[in-house]
Assembly symmetry: C2
Homo-oligomer: 156 residues x 2
Amino acid sequence: MTGQTADRSVAHATFTIERRYAAAPARVFKAFEDPAQKRRWFVEGEGWEIESFEMDFRVGGFERSSFRFQGGPLVTNETIYQDIVPEKRIIVAYRMTVGGNPISASLATMQFEPDGKGTRLVFTEQDAFLDGYDDVGQREEGCRELLEALAKELDR
Amino acid sequence: MTGQTADRSVAHATFTIERRYAAAPARVFKAFEDPAQKRRWFVEGEGWEIESFEMDFRVGGFERSSFRFQGGPLVTNETIYQDIVPEKRIIVAYRMTVGGNPISASLATMQFEPDGKGTRLVFTEQDAFLDGYDDVGQREEGCRELLEALAKELDR
């Protein structure tokens, strides 16, 4: 609870990203289910230092990660799996902090649909952005980058 | 996972309820923080049989309840506290099941604002309704009933 002020605000927002992958739903789902793959596309990346990553892929299980970008403040993500339908659907709730300040609470739904031999992923996020620390534009941009990193993981 | 079919759907929705209470924000907040009070207005009620209720009011803490209405199927609510600012804000993520079927995953934000000597409560819920088991109309109606039960608790 560092750096907190008396000013409090919540900005609610929803956004949806649709993306096609050449791989089948079972393969795309595996990249969310397998901890080694998930770590690679979801938390690793140039300029990012990973401090911790653990995941327990089951309903009620947690996924927790913490990392810094180029020596910046510690960022944490605490995710809890809310719904899992193998190869079809994953829903998570997650909260993020930056430098000890809560910045958001979110509900994210991933739906995997067959599209020819590939997959149509529909990603829907419902957010509560806290105290002006983040906004829907930045978050949507970040999620688009992650879904691009997933494409690279599937191409490995 | 009883009664599941191959048909899967997710319906996303958001609704907001505003309600005024004569009690000050500190008093209204207390009705969310104190387990005895919360149990009374949130899970007890005529025709409802409570099978379990436990809560751990802190960020990352769980609140779990299970109950039946007039001998009907078991309903469960598993809530995790996502953000707490004393007397100002509570954000929870929660998932519900009915008869073993997941029906929803939700993010609910409660904002407590001074309004004269009373409180203006702004309740915002962002939902993912699963497989046709529930919808935003029923959920909003249920939440309005709970906020009415809270008014009665405050009048005790």
